[in-house]
């Protein structure tokens, strides 16, 4: 499949989608809220976009401080419609994470967690279920050797495998496995797929590294142009097979691959339906967006006041139409790619479409 020029059908669909997105931006309902509950992490992954440490300089945010944010949200909107995603660092590093989850749940918010599963023992899993956890995303980057290489820990694969068994055995619990595709695991994606299917996993999300964090300096992480294109052909093929639902991550306008490798057409939801509370109290959007785009701080501002009245750079992205985007005829659909792909000066770090067009 050629990424461009767009087929007529695709172009029409993208025009309709664009109209829908305009309505969404105008109304900007908060749908998902990330909480970076800790900066501590028990792994040191090669690709990690954050700069977590085993012992960070700052303490974890007290749960009461985050719960006050939820009170602010519940006063303005139905808490049942805002999904709280607990992330980190590694959330399980917090000994009180079950307590935090229960408190979030009791305020009426559904919640889920992103975890590396290294400390997801059966006991903690039961504790999380009792705390009302709704969803979980677990990272798995290959079979034992490749995954442990990526994660820098000899036990990591075994723990993920055990965690998958526990989650699959929990009737009705919805989770997905997230795989960072890199040069090392690219030729073995089929092995990962068969492993996941054999375990009973139904959803598999694949993403490619973007050039921030440790991955920016690691040549093993960056796919060649052919491999990059191959990821989308692979996802398309897996979706057609129908044995496991594969999706590409949420970033990047993909030209004619739009609608073929994801269950939706592209739009960056940061600051439109997605907000976040970072470990230092910063009010932002997705956890991987640079601090330059923070909109306030919960220790100084009311969250909903900020959500309603700020976030202008997120909701009107015309300012992104510069440099390589300035003449791009696909900007009307892409709107400058994901917010996390802009550096502190607003420059685009990575264009998925250009990369696809290079092969």
């Amino acid at each position: 499949m050629k990424p461009t020029p767009l087929t007529l059908r695709k172009k029409l669909a993208l025009e309709l989608w664009r109209q829908k997105e305009n309505i969404l931006r105008e109304e900007h309902p908060l749908k998902q809220l990330f909480w970076e509950c800790t900066l501590r992490c028990d792994l040191r992954c090669r690709h990690c976009g954050s700069d977590c440490k085993m012992q960070p300089e700052s303490n974890d945010m007290p749960k009461e401080d985050f719960l006050r944010v939820l009170d602010s949200i519940a006063a303005k909107t139905d808490p049942h419609k805002v999904f709280v995603i607990v992330s980190g660092g590694e959330p399980l590093m917090r000994r009180d994470i079950e307590e935090c989850g229960r408190a979030i749940y009791e305020k009426g918010f559904p919640w889920g967690m992103v975890t590396n599963a290294l400390h997801l023992t059966p006991q903690r899993w039961q504790g999380l279920l009792q705390a009302g956890i709704h969803t979980m995303a677990i990272s798995l980057d290959g079979l034992a050797e490749d995954h442990n290489w990526m994660r820098g820990n000899g036990q990591s694969f075994q723990m993920v495998s055990q965690a998958i068994d526990m989650l699959v055995a929990t009737e009705g619990f919805v989770f997905d496995i997230v795989t960072c595709v890199n040069r090392r695991n690219y030729p073995k994606l089929d092995d990962i797929k068969e492993f996941l299917i054999s375990k009973g996993v139904k959803r598999w999300r694949l993403f490619t590294v973007f050039p921030v964090g440790r991955a920016a300096f690691d040549p093993d992480m960056r796919l060649t142009n052919e491999e990059f294109r191959g990821v989308f052909d692979y996802i398309k093929k897996v979706r057609e097979e129908g044995r496991i639902r594969a999706d590409y991550g949420c970033e990047g306008f993909l030209g004619n691959y739009e609608g073929e490798v994801r269950s939706r057409l592209f739009s960056c939801q940061a600051g439109v339906t997605v907000g976040s509370v970072m470990a230092d109290g910063s009010i932002a959007a997705c956890a991987s967006i640079r601090a330059d785009y923070n909109q306030g701080n919960i220790y100084e501002d009311d969250f909903m006041e900020v959500w309603e009245n700020r976030y202008h750079p997120y909701r009107n992205r015309e300012w992104m139409k510069k440099d390589e985007c300035s003449q791009c005829k696909y900007f009307r659909y892409c709107r400058g790619n994901g917010m996390h792909l802009r550096d502190g000066d607003g420059k685009l770090l990575f264009c998925h479409l250009h990369r696809l067009q290079e092969t």
Partner: protein
């Protein structure tokens, strides 16, 4: 007015997208007014809580108000959120609906609001919704939507002394 227009327009756009062959994209993750979740979904199900309101002798009682409430506890305080309410019909039947994941603190409040009419005046009662009794009546989509579940709970009311 603007909101209503947006909803109508959004529905039209969704229908047109389906006609272009993006129906499967739309149904895999429901394209509601605000679009699908970015990275994570929320499992949800429809729950129907139904049953019959009777007096102590088992005679159906009409006109009894039944209200489904979600009760949250925080710092030793309880907060109730009304979800649905309905009056029992001539056969004493009631049916309440909730779209949510099960919540162990859901309650049905049963109240006589018509005084002596319909068989006399009854004392109020509260039922804890027993999700262990939930019976699946319709499958979900295999993804975030878990289907429809029914819970049957009858109630016998005592007459006011």
């Amino acid at each position: 007015m603007k909101v209503k227009f947006n909803r109508w327009y959004n529905a039209v756009l969704t229908a047109l997208l389906s006609m272009l062959g993006y129906g499967c994209s739309s149904t895999e993750e429901p394209l509601d007014m605000y679009g699908p979740p970015v990275e994570y979904g929320t499992p949800h199900a429809d729950f129907i809580i139904k049953g019959r309101v009777m007096d102590e002798s088992g005679t159906p009682v009409q006109g009894i108000k039944t209200s489904l409430k979600k009760v949250f506890e925080n710092n030793n305080k309880h907060y109730a959120l009304g979800v649905d309410s309905v009056q029992s019909d001539v056969s004493g039947n009631y049916q309440l609906k909730s779209t949510d994941r099960q919540n162990q603190y859901d309650k049905v409040i049963v109240e006589d609001i018509d005084g002596e009419a319909n068989g006399g005046e009854f004392l109020s009662d509260t039922l804890d919704v027993d999700y262990n009794k939930a019976v699946k009546t319709k499958d979900g989509d295999g993804k975030w939507y878990l289907g429809i579940y029914e819970i049957t709970q009858d109630v016998k009311l005592k007459k006011k002394p």
